[in-house]
């Protein structure tokens, strides 16, 4: 049922990539527990605009957990204190009256801060550009039912393809590794006959781009899987390692 709560917010403010950045503390009263976390941020920004201050910049778009645009480290957890959700799906009923909430951007060498809570995740696009596709152009492809695909393979590919590219896995990893993201794409395509053709080339190209962009190594701590809002499994990392090793041995 609906309730109103009062909150203290410690929010990371940073004017630009070169700025040092600092926490600012704001009081917010009468927040409905039915509202989403980002709606609470909207209310904060309305308050700041009213006071003639600059609102807090944060990334968001679809607000239904699929575009991958929203981020935020909330009380030490990417996407906050609920499981299997993005920040936009997190609701204020998960917080208590009088609570202090600490809100930070993704912090990782691969994702430099642009402003306040907004980071630059274009490294993910660069990794996909390096090989995260099947090399087919428009037109001239076989009938969709020409190659039957066993249902378990299609389902597993779908699970890997559920990745929304939000970057929570990188943000939560103590090494700042992008292995869950890369392995999800490698798995999605390697599991399907259409993607298998160039699986080895893809694995090598994507891993090498990931290394080049300054993401850390995977040490199997499993934090990425815990924080992934879409439940992408670390078994994908094992598959990536297998694909990568196979590709390297074939060289």
């Amino acid at each position: 049922m609906e309730n109103n709560i009062n909150l203290t917010l410690k929010v990371w403010r940073q004017n630009g990539p070169q700025d040092k950045g600092r926490f600012e503390t704001y009081k917010l009263e009468g927040v409905s527990t039915e509202s989403s976390f980002l709606e609470m941020m909207d209310v904060l920004n309305e308050q700041l605009i009213g006071e003639g201050k600059e609102p807090v910049a944060f990334d968001h778009d679809c607000r239904e957990g699929i575009c991958g645009m929203c981020s935020l480290y909330i009380n030490g957890r990417p996407h906050g204190p609920d499981d299997d959700v993005t920040t936009c799906q997190l609701h204020m009923r998960k917080f208590k009256n009088g609570e202090t909430i600490t809100i930070e951007p993704w912090r990782s060498a691969g994702f430099p801060v642009i402003k306040d809570l907004i980071v630059n995740r274009s490294a993910f696009d660069q990794i996909i550009a390096a090989g995260g596709y099947t090399s087919v152009s428009t037109g001239g492809v076989p009938d969709a039912n020409a190659i039957p695909i066993p249902k378990p393979d299609a389902d597993e590919a779908m699970d890997a393809a559920s990745c929304i590219g939000c970057g929570a896995c990188v943000a939560t990893c103590k090494n700042g590794s992008a292995m869950l993201f890369v392995s999800a794409k490698v798995s999605h395509l390697a599991l399907l006959p259409q993607g298998k053709v160039e699986a080895a080339r893809r694995a090598k190209a994507m891993v090498s781009k990931m290394d080049e962009l300054g993401f850390g190594n995977c040490t199997n701590t499993g934090a990425c899987e815990v924080e992934c809002p879409k439940g992408v499994s670390i078994s994908n990392i094992a598959r990536l390692n297998r694909e990568y090793l196979k590709a390297k041995l074939a060289d």
Binding site: E2, N15, S32, E34, S35, S36, L38, E39, D42, E46, L48, I49, K53, P55, A57, D59, D61, C62, R63, E64, G65, I66, C67, M69, D84, Q89, R93, I114, K115, N120, R121, S122, F124, D125, I128, A130, G131, Y133, T134, S135, V136, S137, T138, G139, V141, D143, A144, N145, P148, I149, P150, K151, A154, D155, M158, A161, I164, H188, L192, Q194
Partner: protein, 645 residues
Amino acid sequence: MKLDSKIPEGPLAQKWENYKASQKLVNPANKRNLDIIVVGTGLAGASAAASFGEMGFKVKNFTIQDSPRRAHSIAAQGGINAAKNYPNDGDSIYRLFYDTVKGGDYRAREANVYRLASVSNDIIDQCVAQGVPFAREYGGLLDNRSFGGAQVSRTFYAKGQTGQQLLIGAYQALMRQVNAGTVEMHTRTEIVDIVMVDGKARGVIARDLVTGEFSRHFGHAVVLATGGYGNTFFLSTNAMGSNGSAAIKAFEKGALFANPCYAQIHPTCIPVHGEFQSKLTLMSESLRNDGRIWVPKKKEDAEAIRAGKMKPTDIKDEDRDYYLERRYPAFGNLVPRDVASRAAKERCDAGYGVGSTGLAVYLDFKSAIERLGEDTIRARYGNLFQMYEKIVDDNPYATPMMIYPAIHYTMGGIWVDYELQTTVPGLFAAGEANFSDHGANRLGASALMQGLADGYFVLPYTIQNYLADDIRTPRMTGEEKEFVEAEKAAKDKFTKLLNIKGNRSVDSIHKELGLVMWDFVGMARNKKGLEEAIEKIAAIKKEFWTNVKIPGSDKGMNVELEKASRLADFITIGDLMARDALHREESCGGHFREEYQTEEGEAQRQDDKFTYAGCWEYQGEDKAPIMHKEDLKFEVVKVAQRNYK
């Protein structure tokens, strides 16, 4: 102005073949010297940009998001239609064409819709080749489900995330071209004007949303694939960033805006629940395959539920009114969206609504769970049920979902001819941004089909027909006076916004606009209300331009400034929608005028007067636009009263 839709000669089924056989082509050596600007990276934009790049054109692609993969196509849940007829249940290209024209309440162009249906199968083939993990049967072949407005199962799907998977397919094809160097990607960049040289679209002025800097970009042709304008209503199922600004820039440069009043209200969304609400969440239409929609039969039960004294599970089956099954036995819960939305409104207005506000109806899975088991329902809709539970904090396996209609999609948009070219030469529009294929109402799972049809299989042909005459046009540098002047005008507009220094936030004015739109230009419209809306929108415009408050400066990132510039355009669109709705004295599809309904409350068209697309021409700031007509001729389909009974 005479509108030439350029429909090719020949019988309907041959028109597209005839077009392709006689169109002009551009040879590979010349393609390298031709630049195409694509605005937007959703299904239409990404598929067009990728395809142009593969063909060898030089492409510049712009998106306001941090990555092309964020475009709002990603949120489409249910599926994509195609006339494959894999289930052998009587489908065909003609049937898909016919259902789409009928679903659009006979307000779409026959030739365009037929082409859409005929390329639909190619889309599925293309997506499978890209590695889109569509749902499959145990035999390894593709699975289908049914959607509203059809009696066959022709919808392909990837769990409840079909839009995501199709967009990622297109995005990956696009990134492959970025890697190949044929597409130059500009993220976090917004188009703030279109540059006209000698009466043709020749480029855009862009604003970098991170630095606030402006830049000039030349293109031999410009493609707008910027989606719809549903956010005029503030609350809609659109993403927060979805906007109609590029369409309005085109309108102001002379592109006609067609059928702005055709907005789709989706019947199954999570109901509005508070002042702070920022958006509405859709629950996929696919749920209507297995969910049954009802309200209590007795008013006292509805009152008890609203007061929290009764639960929906307390109401026995014989005391439930499954009103869609009652009113429309042939299609039942799978009637088209406009019909389902109005039926929900009718029950709630009559006092049978549920939820604390009385503005909700139930979508119940009890029968389906009894018939198929909870595991099957979880496999089909698990992610949607989870999404509902996270938002509402209620378990839909145990208690019915509450839903209510919300603004979802806009069928209206920039007028385009058969080649998807606007009335401005060299300016094309694709996907939801154009008006072309859905008439007055879009059927479920047809938006994805249209976006990808335009981008993969229509524009790659038609744009060549235009560019073939441009092979001797040298690239411009951006220093030409037209570019310099356009950039200055755009900069001035942003400075003007910052200098207002009023007292009200952008959102507070946008919410006010949204309420006017919902109350007067929403699910049911009438003459008096629309006249009032036009006055109220004019007052909101004045309030905005004298009293908006935008903190910060034009240097660096300024989110409030971005929102303000988009709201200025939403206000223009709101006015256009109200004018169009006022002039269209009939009810059709998503446009329901209370004065024009049958005795049973169904939409009543006035075919003798309104069988045309209403196309609005800009006349200058604060001047009323002028309407032109494109008459619609139905040569194949017999125009009839829609009947889903």
